[in-house]
Every structure is written in structure tokens, then in C-alpha cells.
Symmetry: C2
Subunit: 471 residues, 2 copies
Amino acid sequence: MNKVVGSLKEAIKLSGLKDGMTVSFHHHLRNGDYVINLVMDAIAEYGLKDITIAPSSIFPVHAPIIEHMKSSVITHIDTDYISGPVGEAVSSGILGKPVMLRTHGGRPRAILEGSLHIDVAFIAAPTSDDMGNINGVNGPSACGSLGYAMPDALKADKVIAVTDTLVPYPNTPISITQSNVDYVVEVSSIGESSGIVSGTTQITTDPVGNIIARKAADVIEISGLMKEGMSFQTGAGGASLATAMYVKEKMINKKISGSFGLGGITEFFVNMLQIGLFKTLIDVQCFDIAAVKSLRENPNHIEVSSSFYANPSAKSCTVDKLDVVVLGAMEIDTSFNVNVLTNSNGIIMGGSGGHSDAACGAKLTVIVANLLRSRLPTVVDSVITKVTPGHTVDVLVTEIGIAVNPKQAELKKRLFDAGLPAVEIEYLKEKAERIAGKAEKVTFTEDTVAIVEYRDGTIIDRVFKPFENGQ
Amino acid sequence: MNKVVGSLKEAIKLSGLKDGMTVSFHHHLRNGDYVINLVMDAIAEYGLKDITIAPSSIFPVHAPIIEHMKSSVITHIDTDYISGPVGEAVSSGILGKPVMLRTHGGRPRAILEGSLHIDVAFIAAPTSDDMGNINGVNGPSACGSLGYAMPDALKADKVIAVTDTLVPYPNTPISITQSNVDYVVEVSSIGESSGIVSGTTQITTDPVGNIIARKAADVIEISGLMKEGMSFQTGAGGASLATAMYVKEKMINKKISGSFGLGGITEFFVNMLQIGLFKTLIDVQCFDIAAVKSLRENPNHIEVSSSFYANPSAKSCTVDKLDVVVLGAMEIDTSFNVNVLTNSNGIIMGGSGGHSDAACGAKLTVIVANLLRSRLPTVVDSVITKVTPGHTVDVLVTEIGIAVNPKQAELKKRLFDAGLPAVEIEYLKEKAERIAGKAEKVTFTEDTVAIVEYRDGTIIDRVFKPFENGQ
């Protein structure tokens, strides 16, 4: 009585996977993940074609699947984020069908409502027992929270746990239960630790980033939200983390303790939990080893599914309880729309992830960004790709000024009264253009390479194939 | 942004509950539960009729709902267990439609497959935050595991948390998540502690029960299953618990440590966990205060849903990993069929609960029973109501002999070889009849008052209305 099968190929056969079906993966092993490549190689070897892959994110380490895209083993991708060679390949038009790019909250919405049907989910399992009880906090490839895999496990027709660490029954704690797992496959390694989690998360040492962070913390203070019970999320970027550092300082000075820290969790938030600045950490993904350790050991650090985190169709989700989120941007336009998907050449190199979910949920959404990025203006007339809509963004903080969304007149007045340099966003755009020159407009073909779905299921934008250099 | 509404009536109104719909409840507060009565009074006051109630169990404390059955507020019951006045009322034919009696594993099967559709689930919540994150380990009405409420929360159209202890967001740990909760209602008290959990669980002091228990432990030892990694479940009856005491003694003497203890968890099992005789406790229900405390504090004591426990349609359930279960019986017949539902007058006073689930899953199912019960034979030609089928029962242990199911020839031989008094079950029946006389056959009308559903959804028996005295 157990579910262990001898090989990935055998599990694929037993699962009934056929041409044209959809397989899914989670991305907690990030750029250290071996599982997508292992499974797709096995699927190719098994002779299947026309597979849709639905990983929650794709990283540079997944470059080998480009070969399977070329040979039509993979003909469609449905994901929340693509960085590295796969993004470039998609932008070059390698797939006939446009990629579907969702948000971290939109993905569980689509899975649970059935619009993204998963035939077979492959769950990279840092530990599993022989019945498929899985957790991510133990084992040599421990990645912490398995939040993004939970909707897949719940709804996929077949679920295959892929583990390098089989433990005696029952495995505890249980993050994904045997109730939802069909087969367990043991492989020699599911990932490379150094790529899964970095040893520490770095706060920016860039002096400009530091100026921005300090101002962003001031904005949060002046907003009136920095009070007992504040809930807080930041992105893992340097300037966002530096903002957290200044927020922490202010919280200590004001003798404030927060309610919860949310998101991808870093050592910095773990420390804030430990010293009582948060009551709870709500963790959909661990960004470093300290976060994994804390999730394993601290009962006030809890693991939640992506649906709990951000699914707008759930009966509620936790981003709706968020006071403040600090996020980055590749581009932001004068309507406060944010692009975190395409680079200045119009090539896919990211995605919403939880960006638009947190922006929508939080009472105060602060975008921190240098005025220039790779010597090009960050503030533009119109973003190349609209990912997070401007009406969900409240403030842009740059090194030379703070722009408040006109819908937040009260906040703008508060900043003025406090002597902070609140300016019009058009001023920041012009200033950037005066320094760097107006960016040359990328030109695109008429080929759609990706559809950008907002968290609620509406299509918010499309990504087109750029004209190649010299075309 | 919160889900708290002012009263039960308001929550009922908001939920859209209408005549003819189904409401559900869990039974972790057992005979201390206030919530079923409170809610049904509110539903009656709201003027609804023809409601199906689907509590996981019904206790004597729920006698007040008989009034709602008389007035057609409640016209159907779907449950796993009924003890006390409601069972007597059902047996008297108070409802037009037969009650559906399921097992603790069959109920989540029916809910998750959709054959038991719940319109509104009411979750008695020892603690909840304002978004409906619930746990049962804290608060004045702490009952521990909320395992039986989990399928309801997952599948009901609307879910209403009823709590006497609103705590700041986010409540942790989270047993039932805000993703599935629509409304939160605060009431002054959800239950009376003394009825929820007893201070301690008593091992039998009856010398006959003690003889049976000692023999049952011998049977388990001789079966060969008492070895490193053994998993074990007992009912909470005195003789079952006493068996656990002798099993514990043998495990210590043999220097064996078990894998997991399963089921409704008692202080006795908590102690076995603490001294290392189990690696893990898998808890679908806490039977006493010590179990609640252990679930709150010991990470090796884990809470699971009824689907994880025993749902035969899940991708697996944990009773299938069970080595040994020790269970009681009201009656057992010469085909080893067990009745734990109707008493000697044919009146409903129990139900399968997890009896038939554990019996089906375990490698060795031991029934412990005194030869006589209320001066009537326990071993009979044919049980009044078949609940647990004989092919899932391996051994009957009584004070005068041990009967092995003929399908277990190997075990029978082992017992003989070990010098244990293995006899034919017919011998036990005759012996009982010689002492007590053959029980007078209960006579029944042709009115079906309950349908007994086996865990897989097949109908295993029906309960008829007995002829009244003098008829």
C-alpha cells in the first residue's frame, strides 16, 4: 500500500498523460529547480507532443525546455512570470500560440474556477512519504512554503510528487496531503540549493536606492498607516528591502508593533518577526534560507496557498487586509500604470507575479524606482506593457521627487504639509527625458506572443513580437 | 474589510438560505455543543421550513431540535451518528423521509463528490478572526481538531463561522481558512466545556473488560503486527482503551516504537506520543483536554480532515495505512457483521462514526465485547442493523473466548499455537444464549426510518420503525 513508482516515465504513463494535455509545476525551487527540465525530458522521451506547461514561474535554469518548444513537445505556456532565455524565445515568436501570463492571484483563480484545467501536476517535493504527504521545510532541497503548488494539488486530475527525500510515513508537517497525490517518484535531486535560496537577502548598497527607500518610508509614515497593527509587504528588490529597513527603524522609534508581514518572505522580515515588529508572517514563498528555517521552527510564521494570498475569486484573500506594499517597476507611465514584464526592447523578462495582486489589495501601494534604468527613463508616457493598472498605484517614489496619484488628493496634501517633495508625475517624466533623452520607441510586429491577464481574468494587455534589429 | 455580521439571523439572511435547503454542522463540541440548537432556533425564527440538517454527529444535547422536526422546520437528517433523544425521535417515525446514516469517511466522500450538497455550513469556531480564519485549539470552548468541518468548509456554497472568541487578524494556527468563509457571527458561547471534552478518559475498571483487553493485546502481539513502526487506533470505550494500556506495556517490554496513533485522540495516546511509543498522532477529533493541549503544543500531533482520515474516494486515506484497530460492538453476528447503531429494542442510539472505515482500512480489526450487554447476548445469529460488514472484521475477543474470522486461517493457527482460546463464533453465540437465553426478536413495522450507507456509497442496511410496546 504505497504510491511510489520506479521512474518519472512510469508515473507519466500511469497518469494517462496524452498529446494536447496540460502539465503544471510550482516555482519554489526558483533558479535551482531541476524538476521542470527532468519532467519535460521524460515527457519528450515518452513521445508526447502538443503539451501545455503551466508552471507558476519560469527561470533562466529552464532554458533547456526551449528545445522542447522547437520540437513541438511544448506548444503552449501558461504562467505568471518568465525570466531568462525562455522569455526571449517566447518574444522571438517560437510558439504558435500566445503565452498566457497571469498573476499569482489570478493563477489559483483560474485553476480553482476551472478555466485553467491541469491534467497532471508535478509537485517538486523537498520531502514526501510513500503516500504523498509533502512538505518543503525539510530535506537537502528545502525551499520552505509550497503555497503556489497547493491549488494544483487540489484540482489537477492526477498529481505526481517528485522528491529526492522519501521519509517514513507519516511525513510531518503536511503542506500537501496524500488525499490529493496519485504517485510518488524518487529522483536523485530536485534542485540545487544555491539557486533555490540565496544565503542572505541583500539590502541595496546603491546610494540612490537608499535615498528612494528613505523617502518611501517617510511617505508611509505620513500616510497615517504606520500605526499599531500595520500590515506590510515588500518586493525582494534592493530598494524595496531598504524601505523595509527604514520602516523598521521608524516602527521601533514609535514603539509600534505590526500585525502581519506578507509575501515572499526574506530574512529581514524574519528578523522583524523575531523582535516583535510583526505578530505573524504569512508566507506564500520563502526567498532565503533564514525564511525556510523560520517557517520550520516558528509557529507564528505560517504557510499559505496562493489562493489564500491573492485569489480575487476566493471568499477573501489576505492581500485585501494589507495596509502597505512597496513594489518595484521596470517602467511606470503618467497614468501610474506599471510594467514589470517587458524590458526596454519589448522582450519578456518578468511578469506580474504578485505585483498587481498586492497593489490592488493594499490600502497604500508605493512604487520605488530610480528615475533611469539602464540609462533610459523609467517614467514614460505610456508603458510598453501594462501589468499593474494605475488606479491601484498610489505613489511613485524616485530619487528626485515623489508623485502621488491624483485620486489620492488627501495623501498629496499630507506630503506637502510635511514638507516632502510631492511633484506631478509628468514632471518626473520630463526630468528623466531631459537627462537621458526620450527613449526610442520599440517597434513591434503584429504577432501576439503573450496575453497579459489581470488577476480578475480580464485581458489587460498583449505582448507583441518586436521587430528584430535591422528589420 | 471584514466578514463580521451582527447576528445569526442576519448571517442566515445574507447566506440566501431558503426553504428546502441543506445546512451542515460539525460535532467536535460533542455533547457540549450550543451551535446546532442556536442556529436551528434562528432558522425557525427566520421562518424557514423543510430544511435538511447534515451534522457530522448528533448528541443528547441536541434534543431541542425535535421541536423543529415536529414543526417541519427540519424534514430530513443526514449524519454519521445519533445518540440520545433525537435518535429515539427518528426511530419513532417523526420524520417523513428516512434519515441518511453515513460513516465518518463516507460523509466527506459524499460532500466532495457532490452527492451531499451543502447550501450553508455553520462552523462552530472556538476562535476566529474577522475574516474567518479558524482554529479549535484556543479559546474557552477549545475542542482541538476541526477535522470533520473541513470538507464542509471546502464545498458548501456559503460558510458561516460561529464563534465566541474573535481574535485579531490573522488568527493562527489556521485550520479552516478565510478563503472558504463568507460570514463570521459572534455569539456569547458556542459550547459548554464539560460536555465538549472530559477532563480525563477512563480506562475500564470492570474486571471482565480488563480480561478482554488483556486477551486483545495478546491477539495483537501474536498476529505479528506488533513490531517497529506499528500504527494503531482504538475506540474511546473502556475496553478498547484498556487494550491500548496492555499494548503499551508490551511495546515498552519489546522496545518497539510505533509509527502513528490515529483517530479520536485521548490522553492515553498523548502519553504514548510523549514517551516515544508513537512518532506522530493523526487527529481528526480530540476526545479530552489533554489531546487539545497536545494538538496545540506538539508539532508531532497533527490535525487532519475527515477526508484525510477515512474518505475512500480520496486518492488515499490514512486508515489504509493502519495496522491495528480495536473497536467495540453493540452486537456482532456469526458472520462477524457488527451493529453499533441500534440497541436491543431496535432504536437508533449510535452509528458507524469511523467504525466501518477503520475496520476496512486496518490490517487487523479486533472487536472487543462482553459476551452479554444489558443481560442480552452480544453475539447473535444476525445483527439487527448491519453497519460494519463481517468481511472487514478479523477477530472478536470476549471474556470467554476469541473467535477468528474464518478468512483469517493463518491468524487462527497462530493463536492455537500460542495456546490462546480460539473458538468458533457460533460457540460464543451458544454460550451467551445458554447464560442469558435467546434474545426475543424485535419486531418492526415496514416504515424505514433510516438508510445505512456504507463508506463507499452503497446501501448496507435499513432501519425500520419498531412496533411500539403493546402493538
